[in-house]
Amino acid sequence: MPIIKNSATYGIHKVIMKNSFVIIAHGTAIKEYNGVVGNSQNSQMAMIEAINLTKKYEGVTAVDHVSFQIAEGETLGLIGTSGCGKTTTLKMLNRLLEPSSGRILVQGKDIRKDKPERLRQGIGYVIQNGGLFPHYTVAENIAVVPRLLKWKEKRISGSTDKLLEMVGLPPSEFSQRYPQELSGGQQQRVGLARALAADPPIVLLDEPFGALDQITRGQIQQEFKQLESLLKKTMVLVTHDVFEAVTLCDRICLMNQGRIEQIGTPKELIFQPHNDFVRDFFSSNLFQLELHVTCLGDLIPWLENLSPREGCATLFKVKENLLSILQHKNMGQNGIGIGDRHGHRILTTNCENLLSAFYQYKKSILN
C-alpha cells in the first residue's frame, strides 16, 4: 500500500488518522468511529476532539453534526466555500460561539467545564487583518495576553522583543509603533506574534493571510511554515485558499453546507476524492495541486538515474514538491539532482523523466 508507506514520514498518528478517516468523514457514522478510537487508539490522545458539533441559527443549520480529531502538533485546515460553516466551527473551538449540541474536548477535557476566558487565554487566535488594537502600540498589542495572565513586566518585555524578532520585525524599530503605521503584512506578523505571546499549545487561525496581496501572502506563508515555534503547535487554519491549505496543513477538512465532505491529507483529497463535490472543488486547479502534493520522494521508484555531469545539476531535497521544482528558476538546464536530508545525492534526473514518473505514480495510486 503505497499511501501508508509514503506518508510514514508524517509520523505515526497520520497513519492512524488515515485508517479512520473514512469513518470520520460523516457524522452519521460517529458511533463506529468512537468505537475504533476506544478499541485501538487510546494511547494517542487527540489534542482537540470535536464530537457531533451542531450549530443552528434561527432554524438555519450552519454546522451539522461535525466530528474530527486533531493530534498534538498537527495542523488541520478547514476549507470550503463561503457559508460552509468553517469559521463557525473554528469559533466554537474557543467558545466565541457555543454549539447547539455536541461536545469539544481539549486535551481530553470538555471545554465547557471552565470559564471561556481561561480557555481562550490558552489558545492563540489570529484573524484576518490581524485584529490589532489601534490604540495600543505593537508592544502593547503583543503583551495583551501575558498581562491577562499577570506576567511580570520584565518577562513581558523580554518575550515581546523575542517574538518581534521571530516574526522579522526588529523590536527597536517596531515595538513603539501603532498598527496603522504598519503595512498589511507587518500587521499580520504582529497579529501572529500576539497570538503566540503566551506560548499557547493551540493556535486558531481564521483566514490569517486573506487580506494580503498575492506576493506578500506567499512570502508570509513560507515564513510561517518555517517558524520553529509553530512546529509543535496544534493548529486549526480556516481558509478559502486551496493552495494555502495544501501548503500549510497536515490534513484538510473540506466542508459544504455545514457538513464534512472529506477529511484527510491533501494528497488524499486530491488524488482520492470521495465524491463529486470534493472532485469539483479541486478541479479548476487540479494539475497544479497534484504537483503540489507530490514530493520527489514519492517518485523515486519510477525515476531513472541519468547520472549526467556530476555537480552541475541543481540539488533538491526528497520532500520538495514537484510544483516548486518545476517553477524553480534553474530547473531543466542541467538536470535535477535529488538529495537526502543530509544533502547526499541519491540520483539525478531531468524534467521529462520527472513528469513521466509522476504519471506512473499517479496511475499507481488511482488503480
Binding site: 476566558e117 489558545i123 484573524i127 490589532l132 488594537f133
Partner: protein, 517 residues
Amino acid sequence: MSFWEFFTSNIREIFDQTLQHIGLTVISLAIAVTVGVLVGVVLTRYPRFSTQVIGTVGVIQTIPSVALLGFLLPLLGIGVTPAIIALFLYALLPIVRNTYTGIEEVDGSIKEAAKGMGMPDLQVLFKVELPLAIPVIFAGIRTAAVTTVGVATLSALIASGGLGEFIFRGIALNNVNMMLAGAIPAAILALLFDFLLGILQKQVQRFLKPILIGAAIIVTVSVSWWLGPQIFNNSFIAGFPSEFMGRADGYPGLQSHYNLSLDSVQLNPALMYDALKEKKVDVISGYSTDGRIKAYDLAVLEDDLHFFPPYYPAPLIRGEVLKEYPELEGVLGKLGGKISDETMTQLNYQVDYLNKPTIEVVKEFLTELGLETSIERTGGSDIVIGSKGFTEQYLLAEMLGVVIENYTNLDVDLKTGLGGTKIAFNALVQGEIDMYPEYTGTGLFVILRAPEEVQKAIIQDKEEVFAYVKEQFKELYDLEWLEPFGFNNTYAMMMRREDTEKLNIRSISDLKAYLSQ
C-alpha cells in the same frame, strides 16, 4: 442706554446668572453623561432593545421644552430640580445614541480579537470598546453640552435662574440690551463648554476612568446638595412671569404702590397657574379673565389701592391695510363692546379647562351673538392676523378671522402664538402681520413708554388711555386702534381660594398686612 452701560451697571446680576447657568448645565450634563453612557453600554449588551430605548429617548427630545416643564411641574414643582431633570432628559439622546453607535461601530474583528484572546467582558469594554468609541461618545457629549447651555435659558421659565431671566425679561419688555446681556454670555458659555470638552477629548484616553468617576461624584454630591434646600422651602413665594417682573405697571410699581415686598421667582405665564394650584408658589400675577381662575378655584385679590391700569384689548391694525380695506373698521365693529369680563373668562375656561378647540368655542360664541360663521376660506392671505402666545389671544385672533371672512371677501391667514409683546408688535410694524389684539395698558406702558406725568394723569380713566394710545400709535407708527372688545384683562394678584379664606386675605392690602406680621 448703550449695551455696555447696561452690562456694566448690571454686572453683579449677570455674574450671578452666569454662575447659576453654569451650575445648571454642569450638573445636568454630569447626570446625563453618567446615565447616558451607562444606558448606551447596557444597550450594546442587549441590542434587541436598542431601537425602542433610543426611540423613546429621542421622543423625549422632541417634546417642546415648555411642555416638558409643564409636565414635570405637578411632579417636581418649580425651581432648580425640575430644570435639571428637564435638561438632563434633553441631553440624554445624543449621549445614549453616540455611546451605543460608538461602541457598535468599533471594528468587529477588533472586538472579536479581544474576546478571542480571553479578555473578560468588562476588560473588553474598558480597554478596547470605550477607548475606541471615545471620539464618538465625546462628540455626543459636546452636542449635549451646547444644547444644554441653550435649553438652560428656557428653564428660567420655572424659576431656576440662569441667563434666561434676562433674555425673557428683555423680550417681554422690548429691552434689547437686557436680552443681549443674557444672550451673549449664554453664547459664550456654549462655545466655552465646547472648547473645554474638545481639550478634554484629547486627554480622555488617559483619563477615561477618572472622568467617569468624576461625573458620578458630581452627580451624587450635587443631587444631594440641590435637592436638600429645595424640599424644605416653606416661605411665602410669589411667582411672576418675566414680563411682570420688569414692567413699570408690574411688580416694581406694585412694590412701591402698596409698599409690598415678596420673595418672588420667575415663571412662565403658561405654567404659573399650575404652579399656584400645585402649591409650588402662593401668589401669582395672573390675568383677570383667565379660564383657570374658574377651573382651579383661585381667588382674585381686590386691587383696593387701584394700582393696575386698564387693559382693554382692541384690534391693532396697520394704517395702510385699513386704507386698502376700509370696510374692516365697520365689520370688526360688530365685535365692539360685545365681550364682558365674565364672558371672556368663560371662553378661556372652555379652551383651557374643557379642552375644546379654539375655533369651536369662537363659532359657538359668534353664533350666540347672531353672527354668521359658515364661510371658511383657504388659500390666499389678504389679511394676516397675529396673536401672542396665550389662550385669550388665540381666541380673539380666531374671532377676528371668522368675522372678516364672513363679512368681507378677504382671505385671512393666522400667525398665532407670537412669543410676547415685543415680537408681536415688531411683526406688525414690519408688515409680517396686519393686525393683532393688543391691550391699551400694554400700549401705554410697554410700547409707548409714556412719560410718568402722562401715566399719572390718565391712568384711572380707560377712555383717556384709549384716546391717548390711539393718537400716539397713529402718529408714531401709523397703526390704528379699532373699537375695543369690551372686557378688561388687567393684571390681578391671585391666590388659592382656600388660602384666602384661611388667612382672611381679600385684597392686596390684606396680603401686605399678612406678610408684614
